[in-house]
Point group: C2
Chain length 249, copies 2
Amino acid sequence: MATETTVGRHAPDPEPVGCTLCGLARVCFPARAVHDAARPAADLRIRRTRVPRGRAVYRMGDKVDAFFMIRSGCIKEIDESVGRRAAVLHFALPGEILSLHNLGSLVCTTTSIAVEPSHLCIVPWSAFRHLCGESPAVESEFLRLIAQAGVAARELLLLIRDKDALARVAGFLQSLRRRLQIHGTAGREVRLGMTREEIADYLGLRSETVSRCFTELARRGLIQVRAKRVRFVDDAALARLGSAESASS
Amino acid sequence: MATETTVGRHAPDPEPVGCTLCGLARVCFPARAVHDAARPAADLRIRRTRVPRGRAVYRMGDKVDAFFMIRSGCIKEIDESVGRRAAVLHFALPGEILSLHNLGSLVCTTTSIAVEPSHLCIVPWSAFRHLCGESPAVESEFLRLIAQAGVAARELLLLIRDKDALARVAGFLQSLRRRLQIHGTAGREVRLGMTREEIADYLGLRSETVSRCFTELARRGLIQVRAKRVRFVDDAALARLGSAESASS
DNA sequence: CGTTGAGTTGATGGAACTCAAATAGCGTGG
DNA sequence: CCACGCTATTTGAGTTCCATCAACTCAACG
């Protein structure tokens, strides 16, 4: 497994933008930006691409020349700088922006790999920066999004540092559900694109422990699990658990 | 202890800026920005202030209207949103910028408290943003700093999630030393401004465990500890430990 | 129908937490 | 300057949670 080449600079669909047809247009920041700036979308040279499972969107060390909108699927962002194990830093979901945190640097500090077959849009950074220069509104929104990316890292930190395994898994499921709901993708049932091991690498656990927690949450009647499908049964109890601080029962 | 009022909007020294006299001028981003923009520093309306131990620089929910340069001392940034325990997110050291991550939001998402008596400069956000508008160089540097703040959160995440207690403490000491060195504050010996418990709250451990780790590192001859003073003896071994992944000995 | 990879379940040990007690620093007032 | 008292820190003993190792189930696929 683990295919190798980066997708950024090659294999884009020649397909034109067509943002108006995209189901995510309502929540797509670049699309709104273009609209706000009242300029033709073509100026941004947004391209679409499809990434098969295991393929990298970009790799550590790549030049930073674009960011990405996830249209469908799921991308994991990992740190390859140290150690053998793949440290998962973030899962990017449909409607979310990928690679914002790299924009300050010359080369990517992380690697992003598709956890399942995914579709995304490539937004060239230089063109977008130019757009920012023309519209202060776009620029300040963009600044907010970048700062937001830092906040997400902090939330994960709190989840991992202060909570026990069960609370971590509960919190993970909640945040997944909430984020999918924001972009209108999910109902009461969610399909996990990633494996138990990838979840474990994200939460700082082992896959066996994640599995046990799923079982335990199901036993308590908070969720139902069938392979990669999770159905939310008792949201309130789940929320209570997720904000517990490595105690209680 | 734990005094209450925020320092941001009152009690500034009436003292004028005088950046040229500040020992940190060489590494002070706002000062450089002013210089680059070739405008009088007075425009930024930078004020100095002194914060006694335990006093808040700003609190969660405060309006975001400034960021801060640490001139001396140490400020801990904590998350008060949940749970009883004070979750320490970051220690800001002399020469570093505080509250960057809040700039995207209307109100502060965290609280910052002086861990020891500290001196800092208050940089009004609106005035600074205006300066950014005039100088693209300043703006892009500023963007880099904001993205950098997110990277710091990720580094802490990796330290806490993937390493055991000893490696966390070793990594913490190293990063402290490195950061103090960058700004020319430290030699072979460092004075910790924070208590063992605050370190524990930062590293996701208990104060007893932190203490045991200090003792163990000293026993192995990597450092010497005398109360809040830490002397670095074997940097190489410390670095090896800090990048170990919860194994080895 | 065997193979392969993901997921579940069980048994065991170790790392870190908890509770508890002893000691060392530090500021304060005599 | 010293004694006092407070807090921070260290050290010890027992317990808990999760990682580890290992066996087993299940579904997909040739």
